[in-house]
Structures are given as C-alpha cells and as structure tokens.
C-alpha cells in the first residue's frame, strides 16, 4: 500500500476521536518510559510529534486549545513548572494550524525540513523558560529536536496506514 497524501485526497478517511485520543495517550506513555543518560538526551518528544501531526491534518479538531491542555498534562507528568510544556505546545500547534495548507502541499521529504523549524522553535521556547527559572541552558536537549524530526516521516506513514486500515474494515482485500 503506497503512501499517498496530497495527490488523491479522497483516500483521506476521517480519523475517529478514539484514534486521536489514544494516539496522544500513547505519546504520553512513550515520553514516560524510563529513559536514561544518553537515551534521555536523544529522546524524541512523541507528544509534540503527535500533536503536530493532528494539528496539520485535522486543524479543526486538534488545535491550539487542546495542545495547551495536553501540555499542562505533560507538565504534571514531568514535574516541570505549570505552563512550560503548555507554552511550547501552544506555539507548536499555532505553527501546525497556520502552516497546515502549505505543509500538505509538500511531500514527506520537504515536510520534514519544515517540521524541523517548528520543533526547533518549540524547544527554544522550552529552553528559554528553563533558562529564566534555572539560569542555565540545556544544550543537550536540542538533540531531541533532530530525533523528533527524523521520526516525522515514519509517524506520518504509520498514521496514514492506520487510518486506511480503519476505513477498510469490512472490505475484502485480495
């Protein structure tokens, strides 16, 4: 099943609410795995990835408000200051919602480059807040930007495939 995105739009099936919610919960779960040492520095921000995906593909359902709420949950999970993740994810969602038409014009390779910019912005905001509160900058964390960006294409393909599988249920494939 080749990955098609913008070239035939009728293949885009609606995504159910359960799918959206469970993907966000799965992302929170992946972020919460016991990452340590080098792996912690390389940890991609799964929540940011999933939120950006939905903001780009379903900007009317998942937007800035929901991203903010998920950011608050991430703050509680990470024991960071209230609003630190929320502020970063708000900007991320804004980027996704405003650029969603433009991003959907590109293929995955070009999307990846654009998405990198949005992730860097998100991390800069997060690091700025951290710097204001703790007076030092967490440089190693910027590696997470890169790994998040690298996961953009696999995640898009996976979600697209899962959405198609859901739509194909009940149809006999040969």
């Amino acid at each position: 099943m080749p990955y098609r995105d913008h070239d035939n739009p009728e293949i885009q099936r609606p995504a159910s609410n359960t799918f959206i919610v469970s993907s966000v919960l799965a992302a929170l779960f992946l972020n919460g795995l016991p990452w340590e040492g080098v792996w912690l520095m390389l940890r991609p921000d799964f929540v940011a990835l999933v939120l950006l995906y939905w903001c780009m593909h379903k900007p009317l359902r998942v937007g800035i408000g929901l991203s903010w709420a998920v950011g608050i949950l991430a703050d509680v999970a990470d024991a960071s200051l209230f609003g630190q993740h929320a502020l970063a994810y708000t900007l991320l969602a804004f980027g996704g919602v405003v650029l969603h038409r433009r991003l959907q014009m590109f293929d995955l390779r070009h999307q990846t480059i654009q998405v990198f910019g949005i992730f860097v912005l998100t991390y800069v905001v997060y690091a700025l807040v951290h710097w204001q509160v703790n007076n030092y900058v967490m440089w190693p964390y910027f590696l997470g930007c890169l790994t998040s960006t690298l996961l953009w294409a696999p995640l898009s393909i996976l979600f697209q495939a899962m959405r198609q599988m859901r739509a194909d249920q009940g149809i006999v494939n040969d």
Partner: protein
C-alpha cells in the same frame, strides 16, 4: 466599511493568532504564579490522578525486565548471597547488642543531665517509582503520598545515611529532592571534632561540597559528616557524606572540600521516610524580631 471585512460562511471561533495569544498569556501567567507563589500544588495533585496511570504503565517494561532477571538468577549466586548475608547478620547482631547497651547507658546519662530526649522517630519504607526525567534535576518519585501521611519536609534515608527530603506530595506519590541537587543544603557536623558546617549538593550525580571552610579549619580526608540537627528538619547524628579531597590554596580565603555521599543516593530502590521528628522549640520573640543571620564559623 462592512465590505472590508471578510465574510465567513461558518463560524469557526477566534482566529489562530487570537488563540495563540490567549493561551500563551495563560501559560506565562501560570508559569509566573507557579514559579513565584506555588499556589497550584492542589491543582497539580488533582491532575496527577489523571496522569499517574500512564506513568505507572510506563514503568512496567522496566519492572518486567527486572523480574525476568530475578527469575533467571542462578542457584549458586543465591547460595553465595545467602552465605554472605548470614555472616553479615551475625556481625550485625553482635554490634546491635552492643548498641542497645550503649543506648541504655546514653539514656541514663541524658536523664542525669536533664537534657531534652532525642525522640524516637518512626520510619516507613517506600519504593522509588521513577527518577525525574530531567538529567539536570536530582529528584525521584516514591510510591507513598498523602494516602500514607507523607508530608513535605520529611527526611528520606537508606540504611547508611541521608538520601534527601520530601519536597512535594501527591495523592499516591511524593517527590524527593536528593541531597546532590544543586544548592540543596544540609547542616552537618564533622564526626571527629564536632566542627559545624553546611554541605551543599553540586548538581552532579554523586558529589557534595563544603563551601566557606577557612583554609585553616581542622578537616581531613576521610572525615565523616553527620547531620547536626540544629535546623529542625534533619534528625541529628545521621551520616551524610565522607570527605574525599581537600584543596587548600593560600590565594583563596576558603578551602575547597569535595565530599561523597555516604548513602547510595543514586543506587537503591527502597528508602525510609522518617516521621514524627520532635519539633524544635519556638524561636524567642525578641530574637525573631531582630533576626539577623550571623555566619558562625568555628575554627
């Protein structure tokens, strides 16, 4: 005038820019309130009820891995461990009987001197659920929270010394700040000569340091630092750190003293939470009014 406004078929609420500004301002407000005043702890613990199932689930792979490792432990290693534990038990039993005799004697002497008793304190065991996922923070979360009457300010220790202090309590979890957290201070005494000082965390995984020690102060490598108890938070006489290295440079007024924590601050899975420590007496009124912290340095 009206023709300049764009016509919308569907009302989709405020534009993304308006929403961005609204939520960004809301986040900044929350950040400010949380960083300055700490009003939001109850909200945080309410929300943690939502998040904690996911967090518990996320620790599951690690736990399963460990259980699998335990399952495949060989009989030989178990027998060895049993033997060494048996030996250690015998040694400890001998020491314990000695200790009990000393405790009785100490009690007697204290009664004679009419000193306030050093109260017995209760300890409840707790298990580490997970460590903070920020390499720069030295904090851990344990599985006892408000349900087990844990309170912020209680002391966490392992079998050999102080590990940290409970700083935040959730319904089923609490957060312990380790003594190695940057700028975390513990008032201590040198066991050998009673010299009072304060030991600070270096923000490193396993390093503590003594600041403001005059070059001439009587401190040696290998000295054990125990809590002095004058802060009213840490009970007196519990080992905290051992002096590792001292650099005395005449160009600086203070000696550089590096210490290592005695307790396995970053090793164990189980901790003890101390409760029921005796409250220190109230500060006298006139002294409180003219409260002037004086740095007292003994030489």
């Amino acid at each position: 005038m009206d023709s300049t406004q764009s016509f919308q078929f569907f009302n989709r609420g405020p534009s993304p820019a308006v929403r961005l500004v609204f939520f960004a301002v809301l986040s900044l407000l929350l950040l400010f309130v949380d960083a300055r005043y700490r009003y939001l702890e109850s909200t945080r613990s309410a929300l943690s009820v939502l998040v904690s199932p996911i967090q518990r689930l996320a620790t599951l792979p690690g736990v399963l891995w460990q259980q699998a490792g335990d399952f495949f432990a060989t009989q030989r290693s178990l027998a060895d461990e049993n033997k060494s534990l048996h030996q250690r038990h015998q040694q400890d039993a001998a020491r314990l009987s000695q200790f009990q005799a000393l405790q009785q004697e100490n009690l007697q002497l204290r009664k004679l001197l009419a000193l306030p008793q050093r109260g017995e304190f209760a300890a409840q065991p707790a298990e580490i659920v997970y460590a903070e996922r920020d390499v720069f923070k030295r904090k851990i979360l344990i599985n006892k929270g408000a349900d087990a009457n844990v309170q912020a300010g209680q002391v966490a220790m392992d079998d050999s010394g102080i590990v940290g202090q409970v700083t935040r309590v959730y319904p089923w979890l609490s957060e312990v700040t380790l003594i190695t957290e940057k700028d975390h201070a513990v008032p201590v005494q040198v066991l050998r000569n009673g010299l009072r000082t304060v030991v600070f965390g270096a923000g490193d995984t396993s390093r503590l340091s003594l600041r403001y020690m005059p070059v001439s102060s009587d401190i040696q490598g290998g000295d054990v630092l125990v809590t002095s108890g004058i802060d009213g938070v840490y009970p007196p006489g519990i080992p905290v750190a051992r002096v590792e290295k001292i650099e005395r440079d005449a160009a600086y007024p203070f000696a550089r003293v590096a210490c290592l924590p005695v307790a396995g601050v970053d090793r164990h899975r189980h901790l003890l939470i101390l409760s029921g420590l005796p409250r220190p007496p109230e500060r006298p009124a006139e002294e409180r009014a003219a409260h002037n912290p004086k740095q007292k340095q003994k030489k």
